[in-house]
Subunit: 150 residues, 2 copies
DNA sequence: TCGATAAATTAGACAAGGCTAACTTTAATA
DNA sequence: TATTAAAGTTAGCCTTGTCTAATTTATCGA
C-alpha cells in the first residue's frame, strides 16, 4: 500500500473505464476497416477485388470472408455481384481512403522513428485502429519534420 | 500501380497475412493482460484487488469479470478465495510486471512525442498490445533521448 | 447474533468472428 | 458444348466476451 491517498492515481476511474470501452469499440470496427482498406488496395493494384484474394491476404478461409462481406454489404460499404469484382460504395470508398491515410501515416511514422520497414508494417496493422485524431496529428507532424531534416 | 509509398507493393502476401494473424493473436491475450495488469495496480494502490473494483475500472459488469477471472485462474495467473483479495501467482506477477513496463513506456513515449497525458493514457490502452519488441525498444530509446535533452 | 447490504456466482442469451464440410454456380478449356 | 476446376455460399459448430436476471454467500452494524 504505497499510495495511501485514494486520489494518488492521476486518472479518474471513469476515464480509465472509458479507455477500455474505446478499445472494445475499436475492435468492433477493425474488421470493417481492414476489409474496405484491403478491397480498395486490391482494386488499385489489380483492378479487381475478389473474395478469394481477400481470404488469402487476411489469412482466413473463404467462408469467413463470405460471412464478413455480408456484414459490409448490410452496412452499406460494398456492393457485390457474385463472380464479379467487389465494388465499394461512396461510404466504403470514403472509409477506405481514411483508413489508407491513417495506415500510411502510422507506417511512415514508425519508419521515421527508426523501426524497420517490415516490423513497421506489421505493428501498424494492429496499432492503427487505436490511434486517436490527436495522436495521429502528432505522428504526422513528426514525419513531416523528419522529412524536412533529410 | 501502388504509387510512391514504399509499403504494400513490396510485401509478400504471406507477410501481410501473418500480420493480420498476429493482430488476431494479440486480441486473444489482451483480456488476460489487462486483467493481471489491473490486479497488480489495485494491489499496489489499495493493498487489495476485488472483482467488483475490476468491473468498475474496466467498465464491465461483475458477471463478466467473474467469468474472465475463471479463465485467469484456469491459466494459472491468479489465485482466488471468494471475498478475499485476488492474488497473482508468480506467472501472473511476471506477466503483470511486463505489461506494466510496456504500458509505461508507451505512455511516456506518447507524452515525450507531444501527445497530451490524457490522450496518451487513452491511446496506450489500445496500442500497447500491438507493439513488437523492436518497436518498444525504439520507443524506449526515444524517451531516453528526450529525457536527456531536458 | 442476526438481518440487511454488498459482493460474488450461476444460468442462460447473444453477437462476432473464426472453422470444416458439403453444396451450388460460374468460367475456362479440351 | 460438355466437363471440370475454381470460386462462392450455406449450414452448423466453437470460442470469446459481453449482457441481464436470479441466486448464493459473506460481512458488518444495530
Amino acid at each position: 500500500m504505497t499510495e495511501t491517498t485514494p486520489q494518488a492515481s492521476d486518472r479518474s476511474i471513469d476515464t480509465q473505464a472509458s479507455g477500455f470501452e474505446a478499445v472494445r469499440q475499436a475492435h468492433q470496427s477493425e474488421m470493417v476497416e481492414d476489409y474496405v482498406e484491403l478491397i480498395a488496395e486490391l482494386i488499385h493494384q489489380n483492378g479487381a477485388a475478389r473474395p478469394v484474394e481477400i481470404a488469402e491476404r487476411l489469412g482466413v478461409t473463404q467462408p469467413t470472408v463470405s460471412k464478413n462481406l455480408a456484414r459490409l454489404k448490410r452496412e452499406g460499404f460494398i456492393e457485390q455481384i457474385p463472380y464479379r469484382s467487389l465494388q465499394l460504395t461512396d461510404a466504403g470508398r470514403q472509409l477506405a481512403e481514411a483508413c489508407r491515410m491513417r495506415h500510411r501515416i502510422v507506417v511512415e511514422f514508425l519508419i521515421a522513428l527508426g523501426v524497420s520497414p517490415e516490423v513497421a508494417e506489421h505493428d501498424a496493422e494492429g496499432i492503427e485502429h487505436h490511434v486517436s485524431e490527436e495522436t495521429l496529428a502528432v505522428f504526422k507532424g513528426f514525419v513531416r519534420r523528419t522529412d524536412e531534416t533529410k
